[in-house]
Symmetry: C2
Subunit: 276 residues, 2 copies
């Protein structure tokens, strides 16, 4: 096998577990780049190369945005005190927020368009609906995903920090967010520490997520097949023994695991979103 | 200038408008690929190449997913009758949904994990909170963005169809979605028709969306600078005369423009999400 074929086979095996790889995957550099993604949780303190942030933002802005309305912003936190504050407020379990040079806060942002509309005498009544909250959330996510891929193409690592919604009010206050805006998630960016390498995190086989023409609900046996690669990955990293079904159940049943996120609705309502 | 430099300069100029390009952008194939994105609204009816869908799904699954919980599904609609039904229900203004060979519906999907948790005797109470709705929405968006980039790397075109939320209840019923799931958006996939080429859609300058350390609210003058590339792009495509501020205002003030999306909250609540 050529190096390319070997690399492809290895990525697919790591991603799906041996024997669960999808057939007929078309390979090119873009596909290999995306399929090689791993979240990085150990960083060097070294600064980003000149232009890296601007390159990430250019990629982010090139993503689709609903009706060309640009309903997102990103705050690049490089000030060590601000990073520490954010870490103390909401980042526990993620000490690398303080180590890495840049912490991006991705903001679902209707505030800009809300101000524009009201400055022009409008009511901005559309922003009082759940859909406006969803549109801004999706816009922020699409932009962020391009930025993550851009960072990785520059040899940098990233990890999404959903935990920034744990204390969403405190985070918004710290960052000085206006109304009609909330932090969807953070993203750490920096050079991966050498020990951050490792296997790719496995995913369930494609037939768990891919449906044809209509949604087919009963896929329990297919989910069961995911337990083996799930277990294998955790063993390799010496992680606590856990099954996928167990992980899903505790994430769904344990209110304490929400760690403040049960207040997200009151935060976003307090920030102007009426979610009608 | 080399071909590469010329191409880079052209992309940056189209994306930001002459004189508004960011400095210091680092260039590589991944960046060029993302920055060259355009939404395609004219398609050939030709089928996708073998493996293209699986390749898109593999890229989608390689995106980050919150806590490794895989809270999304995708329904690949290829059946012409189903495509026509979806078009008639919710796709007006987008007749290419019927022309292109594949219409993907991206589902923010807590139903799988909800069933797993309840089958194991849990309450799945976490899913009753707004955060669970947000997590699934973000998961779906990150996955979809990778899929879109994968499609483009295969020479295919895509366009997001947020309009699938216009009649979100009818769409969910047509697709047979279970509770705790809703369609975040559709995505048309196919070969672009030759006449679909053109300039890249310009974005506001980076300082409109990028903030340093804290959110800085007053950026009216920077938004004003966007009107020129916005106007230039529309003129080139013989689109109706409109300013960005005008477009923002009508999107925010005109309830009729929501075209059914004002009902999104009642749909998702009717589908189990309590959004607490």
């Amino acid at each position: 096998m050529s190096d390319k074929t070997t690399r492809q086979a290895q990525i697919l095996e790591e991603r799906y577990g041996m024997g669960h790889e999808p057939k007929d995957i078309i390979w090119n550099d873009q596909i290999e780049h995306m399929m090689s993604h791993r979240s990085v949780r150990r960083y060097l303190p070294d600064a980003l190369p000149d232009g890296a942030l601007e390159t990430m933002v250019a990629a982010a802005q090139s993503a689709s945005t609903s009706s060309n309305l640009h309903m997102w912003s990103v705050i690049a936190v490089t000030d060590p005190e601000m990073k520490s504050e954010l870490y103390r407020t909401s980042g526990h379990g993620n000490p690398f927020i303080e180590v890495a040079p840049v912490f991006l806060l991705w903001v679902a942002d209707q505030s800009r368009n809300n101000r524009i509309s009201k400055a022009n005498g409008g009511s901005a009544i559309v922003h009082d609906h759940l859909d406006a909250f969803v549109m801004a959330t999706i816009d922020a996510a699409l932009a962020a995903q391009n930025a993550a891929l851009a960072a990785e193409s520059l040899g940098l690592g990233t990890v999404y920090i959903g935990g920034m919604r744990n204390k969403s009010k405190e985070v918004a206050d710290l960052l000085g967010l206006p109304d009609y805006a909330y932090v969807t998630f953070g993203m750490v960016v920096g050079y991966p520490a050498p020990e951050a390498q490792g296997r790719l995190r496995p995913r369930p086989s494609q037939d768990v997520v891919l449906h044809q023409n209509r949604y087919e609900a009963d896929r329990a046996s297919r989910i069961a097949a995911y337990e083996e690669p799930f277990k294998h990955f955790r063993e390799d990293l010496c992680m606590k023994e856990k099954t996928f079904v167990g992980a899903v159940s505790s994430s769904a049943n344990d209110l304490l695991s929400m760690d403040g996120r049960e207040n997200l609705r009151s935060t976003v309502e307090g920030r102007g979103f009426k979610l009608r």
